[in-house]
């Protein structure tokens, strides 16, 4: 298994935070998995303020498991999770996991982001309502606050879920497959929202899971490759990871990385042979 340096990979790639910023959260020598199923061992991963890390790899490769373990939503099977201080997390789940049958407005869904901070017994107050409005405005859907979540388009639902995560005023925004099932226009718009949030000057760290390398190549500052079938976990700055050699090793076939019009494109080599 390839190991990671103890520094924050996103910070090394030029994120707007000092290089040696203390990590918000880190996995050290971690074994991740479900129950007794060990998926990956010796995982070393640190996320610092201002990082923009994309966890990529094939479907079913263990990406979401790594993310959930990093967030503490799944217990470690071995190793340790370092959390130097209480961390405010915003989480954006895979859109398909959120049932649109519930008659909740976009505003009501976003307000759920305040629930952990409020705790039981307390009801949302004026400050919470203001936070909901601000979060909706930050992702550009303030006018949709009173619309039912189930009546929104895929892109609008994704923005609603991002707004809910922002409503928790997070230091770390965790996003799971944000562009799944979207058309190219909605995909670009969603990724632009994440880029703008990251560049917003608040030191927000973003960790994103995606199997769409194309979608993250122009946004993330660091990449983590995950594939449980080959016991592969490798993380580093984008410049080191987004190379044909590294990607071909990840996907098991020749991969081309090209730049055109200021954007990076990643696709399999037409020949298909592994270099």
């Amino acid at each position: 298994m390839e190991r990671v340096p103890m520094r924050s990979p996103g910070a090394a790639a030029g994120a707007p935070v000092p290089l040696l910023a203390a990590p918000l959260v880190a996995l050290r020598g971690a074994t991740v998995g479900y129950g007794r199923h060990r998926l990956l061992s010796d995982v070393e991963l640190a996320v610092a303020p201002g990082d923009f890390l994309a966890i990529v790899g094939p479907n079913g490769g263990g990406k979401t498991t790594v993310l959930r373990t990093l967030l503490g939503a799944l217990p470690l099977l071995a190793g340790r999770r370092e959390l130097p201080r209480p961390l405010r997390v915003g989480y954006v789940p895979q859109r398909d996991l959120v049932d649109p049958i519930w008659p909740l407005t976009a505003g009501e869904v976003v307000a759920m982001g305040r629930t952990p901070a409020l705790g039981p017994w307390r009801r949302p107050g004026a400050a919470d309502r203001a936070a909901v409005g601000e979060a909706l405005a930050r992702v550009g859907i303030a006018e949709l606050a009173a619309r039912f979540y189930g009546e929104l388009s895929g892109g609008q639902r994704q923005r609603t879920l991002i707004a809910r995560a922002l409503c928790a005023e997070p230091e770390l925004l965790a996003v799971d497959e944000p562009t799944n099932g979207m058309d190219p226009s909605a995909e670009l718009a969603t990724m632009d929202v994440l880029r703008d949030l990251h560049a917003g000057g608040r030191g927000l760290a973003i960790v994103m899971v995606s199997h769409r390398l194309d979608a993250v190549a122009n946004y993330a500052r660091a990449l983590a490759f995950v594939d449980k079938d080959r016991a592969l976990f490798r993380v580093g700055p984008l410049a080191e990871m987004l190379t044909p050699a590294a990607l071909s090793a990840l996907y098991g076939r020749a991969v081309v990385v090209r730049e055109e019009g200021g954007r990076r494109f990643v696709h399999p080599d037409a020949g298909g042979a592994r270099p």
Binding site: R68, L71, G72, A73, V89, Y91, V92, P93, Q94, L97, V98, D99, I101, W102, P103, L104, T105, E108, V109, M112, G113, T115, P116, L118, P120, W121, R123, P124, F148, L161, R164, A168, A174
Partner: protein, 286 residues
């Protein structure tokens, strides 16, 4: 029926207040309570969990009657029988609510629980001599004889459930709507789910003993479905479902009294009628 007969029937009804008062109030409380909880049952797509729980709570009643009749264990009082039913239902609710089978769909486990519980009820009825008739009423619903003590128990449970749901609405809704995110944000989703199922597990047996299993299943499904068909906001849907439950229970009870029809089945039909406006509105909207 002519006008004179109608007036005589009304006079007879008013004169028989002592007979219908407690069952009617119990029905109204049950309609409100089950209608409210039905929103969770329907939106969580666990309609058949409520059916299974209704049967499981009836197994608890059968067990209590069996202990009394065959083993001569003291279990004739309302609180003993309800205790059995509540125990069975709460354990069943927590187990079925926490089910995450890996090799089978959850529906298979729920279906197995329902069919096994139904079979146990039939077996129990076949072995009981004196209580078999009472049990038939409990399964299919009669709402005829509700002792005051049972009425107080239903009222107490309704108040307790209402208090829990008012105090923890945002947690119960978040954990039900998006458990993945709730868990990621540190909410103890399993505990909130257990609390929700505890309230459902309390409501089902105390109302099933008064109304019967069939009406309880119907009231956990139909008023909520009717409210949700109207495409109103969630908080309005909770209120509407409770109101539909009250009106269907009261209207069904009165219709069964004057029409001399089986009470439980009449209430179910009354509850089903509330589906019509929502279905019509959807049809008009295309």
């Amino acid at each position: 029926m002519n006008g004179a007969d109608g007036l005589a029937g009304l006079a007879g009804f008013l004169g028989a207040r002592e007979i219908w008062q407690a069952p009617l109030v119990a029905s109204l409380l049950a309609g409100a309570l089950l209608g409210f909880l039905g929103i969770y049952v329907v939106l969580r797509r666990t309609v058949f969990v409520s059916a299974a729980l209704t049967q499981i709570s009836t197994v608890g009643l059968v067990f209590g009657l069996f202990l009394e009749e065959r083993l001569h264990v003291e279990a004739e009082h309302v609180e003993h029988q309800l205790g059995m039913a509540v125990g069975f239902a709460v354990v069943g609710a927590v187990v079925l609510g926490a089910l995450r089978p890996r090799r089978l769909p959850a529906e298979a486990a729920v279906g197995a629980a329902w069919v096994a519980a139904s079979a146990l009820v039939v077996l129990g009825v076949s072995r009981l001599v004196h209580a078999a008739h009472d049990l038939g009423g409990m399964v299919f619903g009669n709402a005829v004889a509700v002792p005051d003590q049972e009425l107080w128990i239903i009222g107490g449970v309704a108040l307790l459930v209402l208090a829990i749901h008012l105090a923890f609405a945002k947690e119960l809704i978040f954990a039900s709507f998006d458990p993945e995110t709730a868990r990621a944000l540190g909410l103890p989703v399993a505990r909130w789910d257990a609390l929700l199922y505890l309230t459902i597990g309390l409501a089902i047996p105390v109302t099933a003993r008064a109304l019967g299993a069939l009406p309880v299943f119907a009231f956990l499904t139909l008023p909520a479905a009717a409210a949700l068909l109207l495409r109103v906001r969630l908080r309005v849907a909770f209120l509407l479902a409770a109101a539909f439950g009250v009106v269907a229970a009261g209207g069904g009870y009165l219709a069964s009294w004057f029409g001399e029809t089986p009470t439980g089945a009449t209430m179910v039909v009354a509850a089903a009628l509330f589906l019509l406006p929502g279905a019509a509105a959807r049809w008009v909207r295309g």
